[in-house]
């Protein structure tokens, strides 16, 4: 079972994601955004950063990178697709997740630990967690305020303290099938107590378990 971690120009969390997934027993390969073929992969992660400089809107240019056709194919095939932070923004722009991410309510770049609660365990990110489980991991974003005018998103994790105005306090959102998930805080930065938290492990373990076909 192999996971592609996509690298756009401006992505900067790919090593953290690769390290976290590898530590948890996953097999990972970094893949450049111009790669047109992901047929050897079972799932994909779009990591955080500033893909294509976040110009125009966050994720607006990245969604047209050649690799995104393959990401869409994997999503439609029911394979696990996870976007973290900027990756969440790219998935919304690509229409693989409902809604969009706008600037935080208080126009502050938020960089601190946040406490989350699991609100849906039927997704590729939360499948190994318990309903109501508390997860403490870092948030690191300016455009983390999720809006969903159509009210069609499935909230997998919510913030306990509403740091950014996100609709329904959503921190992680899934598509209807639960195989495409975007999360604004960083589970990959919460896999080692030495660095402040190991709470992200249960989320990434859920992702790795979901790579195995049911």
């Amino acid at each position: 079972m192999k996971t592609a971690v996509v690298v756009f120009p401006g992505t900067n969390c790919e090593q953290d994601v690769a390290h976290a997934l590898t530590t948890l027993g996953g097999e990972v390969e970094l893949v450049w955004h111009r790669e047109p073929d992901l047929s050897e992969f079972d799932g994909v992660v779009l990591p955080g950063g500033f893909a294509h400089g976040d110009y125009l809107r966050t994720g607006a240019i990245a969604r047209f990178s050649p690799i995104m056709a393959e990401v869409e194919r994997l999503a439609e095939a029911g394979r696990p697709v996870l976007g973290i932070c900027n990756g969440f923004q790219v998935l919304c722009e690509a229409g693989l997740l409902p809604g969009a991410l706008i600037a935080n309510r208080d126009l502050a770049f938020i960089c601190r630990f946040v406490e989350l609660e699991v609100t849906d365990t039927g997704t590729i990110l939360t499948g190994a967690a318990q309903m109501g489980q508390r997860i403490r991991i870092p948030l690191n974003s300016y455009e983390g305020n999720w809006v969903d005018p159509g009210n069609s998103g499935r909230v997998a994790l919510r913030y306990l303290d509403d740091p950014n105005g996100s609709q329904g306090s959503a921190a992680a959102v899934a598509n209807g099938e639960g195989n495409v998930v975007g999360i604004m805080p960083h589970p990959e930065r919460g896999v080692d107590e030495l660095l402040g938290s190991g709470d992200g492990r249960v989320l990434l373990e859920g992702f790795l378990h979901s790579l195995v076909p049911a």
């Binding site: 125009l56 047209f64 706008i102 600037a103 935080n104 208080d106 809006v147 005018p149 159509g150």
Partner: protein, 80 residues
């Protein structure tokens, strides 16, 4: 052919930047300000002679990438 695209956030979508500017204007005594919205203007230059074709092409660009249909509306002005 010069074309101007104005991209506006839908009224029902919050505009934190506009709200902050409004508060700042009130702090400066401009209490008449009822609302502030900050939008985006994009200037394009096309090698297309026909205004209608240019407009249609730019509207396609807006639907494809320049505007986010979840949040935004757009207007296209062909300046000639």
């Amino acid at each position: 052919m010069k074309v101007t695209v104005e991209i506006t956030r839908r009224p029902e979508i919050a505009d934190p930047q506009g709200s902050t500017i409004q508060r700042a204007l009130h702090d400066l005594g401009h209490n008449a300000v009822m609302s502030v919205r900050v939008d985006r203007v994009i200037h394009l230059e096309l090698d297309n002679e026909d205004p209608d074709a240019a407009r249609a092409r730019v509207e396609d660009m807006c639907r494809q990438v320049l505007a986010n249909p979840v949040l935004e509306d757009f207007t296209v002005k062909v300046d000639g």
